[in-house]
């Protein structure tokens, strides 16, 4: 497979310069490196500029509702846990509308790779604030500046039980590509938050902003150290890139004896129905 093999004949409708192009590129490259055919895995997309990627990619895709990609992915994974499942979502999508699902998917440690386009705005609906927006951020829906403090998705992921928590930058495709590959190779719920400039509606968190405020984690960071990971993700001024936290814990699917050998979808049906009647006699 080469990158072009994953491309449909539709050219992306994103604004020129949008960070989504970088994420799109990193995703395709990561699959080439994994050696995945379009039928070897599935992607569930949320609704937003981010989710619109669904039309530009040749794979088994499921374009879901706004906020609901994760529960769709959990259901799919339970049905066929041998199929790698990736979720592509927006920050409004995943941390706002679907925030409850985000917390609970972390708890469950479902073996899914979640890739969130964190642009701190709602792109598709023309630039209102996302829950990731910095307090005071002015938008069409918050002309006086947003009152709420920002959600910290990485801290949330780490404390709620995600077992692979990383941050990438849409402006650094090779680095992001490697993070994605690492997330696929991790058994358990992986959260890859991607800092994604929205060139049209967010004039503050630009490529330049992220180049100035981010740094790459080096070998001095121990991803097994939860407290150190939390300290790093709580710093809004110096933003870490790389694998912040990693832990080995049984996945949800590994905890189900029913699917220890075969997936639900491949299992033969062999219930002894008459014996089920005994308790009703």
């Amino acid at each position: 497979m080469i990158v072009a093999d994953y491309q449909t004949n539709r050219f992306p409708t994103w604004c020129p310069g949008c960070g989504d192009f970088g994420i799109w590129g990193a995703l395709k490259t990561s699959w080439v490196k994994m050696g995945w055919n379009p039928w070897d895995f599935a992607i569930v997309f949320g609704i937003g500029c981010s989710g619109n990627m669904a039309d530009f990619i040749k794979v088994y895709g499921f374009h879901s509702l706004h906020g609901r990609a994760l529960p769709n992915a959990v259901g799919l994974k339970i049905a066929n846990h041998k199929l790698p499942v990736v979720v592509v979502a927006g920050d409004g999508d995943c941390y706002g509308e679907g925030g409850n699902h985000f917390i609970h998917t972390c708890r469950g440690n479902h073996d899914i790779s979640l890739v969130v386009h964190d642009n701190r705005v709602y792109g598709l609906t023309t630039g209102q604030v996302a829950p990731t927006a910095t307090q005071g951020f002015k938008s069409k829906s918050t002309p006086d500046g947003i009152i709420e403090v920002r959600i910290n998705p990485l801290a949330l992921a780490i404390t709620q039980g995600a077992t692979f928590v990383a941050q990438g930058f849409a402006g650094d495709i090779p680095h992001l590509t490697q993070l994605l590959i690492d997330s696929y190779n991790h058994r358990g719920f992986s959260v890859v938050n991607v800092l994604q400039p929205c060139v049209t509606f967010n004039k503050i968190n630009t490529y330049m902003y992220y180049r100035e405020h981010t740094y790459k984690l080096d070998s001095s960071h121990n991803p097994q150290d939860k407290i150190s990971a939390l300290t790093k993700v709580m710093d809004d001024e110096r933003i870490p890139l790389g694998i912040l936290y990693k832990e080995e814990r049984k996945t949800y699917e590994q905890s189900l004896n029913q699917i220890a050998t075969n997936t639900l979808v491949e299992k033969p049906y062999n219930l002894n129905l008459n014996s089920l009647l005994n308790e009703f006699k």
Binding site: P38, A42, I47, G61
Partner: protein
Amino acid sequence: MNNLPQQTLTWKIGGEAGFGIMTVGLMFSKVSIREGFHIFDYVEYPSLIRGGHNVYEVRVSSNEVYCQERKVDILVALNQETVSLHKDEMKDDSVIIYDNEKTKISATDFAPSVILLAVPIAKIIKEAGASLVMQNNVALGASCAVIGFSKETMLLVIKDMFLDKGEQVVKDNSIAATLGYDYVSNNYKDKFAKKLTPSKTNDQIVLTGNEAIGLAALASDCRFYCAYPMSPSSSLLHFMAAKADECGIVVKHAEDEIAVINMGIGASYGGIRAMVGTSGGGFSLMVEGLGLAGLTETSLVIFEGQRPGPATGLPTWTAQADLEFLMHAAQDEFPRIILSPGDVEEAFWLTVEAFNLADIYQTPVFILSDKYLAESHKSAAPFDFTKIKIDRGKLITSGNTTDLSKYLRYQDTSDGISPRVIVGTKGTYFLTNSYEHEENGLSTEDSSQRIKQVNKRARKLVLYENNLPAPNLYGDMDSDITLIAWGSTKGPVISALAQNNYVIAGKTVNFLHLNHVWPLPRKAISNILSRSKKRIMIEGNSTGQMGKVLRRETGVVVDDYLLKYDGRPFYEDEIIDKVTKSL
């Protein structure tokens, strides 16, 4: 049993929540069927865990039983409240079993022929050194002795019910029940007319509507059940969860109902049969997901157990007021099918059908039930599993020889059904899309593509309508009066009519029961109703929802309504009364 006159009685036990009323009630039902009788039982309880009045009623008969009865032959009062709340339900020759050391009964409250049977339940328990929680077993023993059920049958039921809790539990329960049985046999021998003559020709099962649906789901190869607890759907979640290991299925209690339906959709997309369950409040949260299943053409079975609402409503009571909500839930238009079973047999077979319909039409299919059906036990012949045919519809599996390179997920076929490929099948890929889409699944806003897909989806329902079975008509085609009901209201109506041989106040009465409630078998219904002279619609809501739907869909106007929305099921006398008054 066949040539004997009908033997029948109604037994009722009341006490505080925590007295084990539900357990003893079910044991009584089981003893009854093992003694060769049919039963229907009905429970009433408030939405509380401790305290509050719990009542369990079992109607026993040598003939099939369809519903509960207003009057009681044997009342077991485990507390004072039971006597005061139910003293007006006595028949002339009823028996009241009560603990004379705890409960005061004034004989003047009852007809002289009512037998007041004092059983010092608490004292018996104390003398035997048993725990007070065993009171319910003493009551069971006393009841069985009064009726003449065999002690052996009773002890076998206790053994079967408690064996998985250990030998000791079986022993404790058996001792208490035996004490009650012996006390009545020794002290009140031959005092009652309330005897039933057992017959051993019966191998029936006894189960609730929810259990029938769970069993049918397992028998239909449902491999994923997802729910969030809400009465009266929770018992289905508990049943499925208890079966998950043994049956190799996965049952998920998800974080909320939005997750529930979306997980169900994900699992179905993954290629397995999936079902989700809830009540009206939870379904309100599922509504957007319903549209997702509709637009993506994902097969899904949705169980909705109705209770009175809106909002939190009356959690532990019954209603039939969600029909129009389900018909119209979610924005825009897409095909959906609603089935509403009338009793446990229909609950079983319509669930089997629901899974097939969901797969064939690749669209959401509802099983619309209610608390009355969900939690009432009925005896039934064991289901003949060999009659189950699993039809997964137009499903292309990797084994098929079809060339998948040109596969179109939303192919515009003549019947509207596009062949389906399970995600992960090698050699192809496609987009399953919540946006309006082209045949290949990619998003579109093009006018002609939009029209094409709306029409394609709509054709599926046309096909279904053409294949709809005719509704059941009970009684003579040409009768003076036609009663119409849907779902679980079947029981009281059938019972009221059968007892009167379909003649009330000199008029012949027949009964049209609807269980394929959306879309309706319109032609068959109007054929039947256009011949009836007077039509009375009986349903559990305040606006006559089905009556309005019938008018819209068939042009038939019902002449009168019997509506109930107090959370209680219909009783036979209300139906007979209505018919009599409407003459």
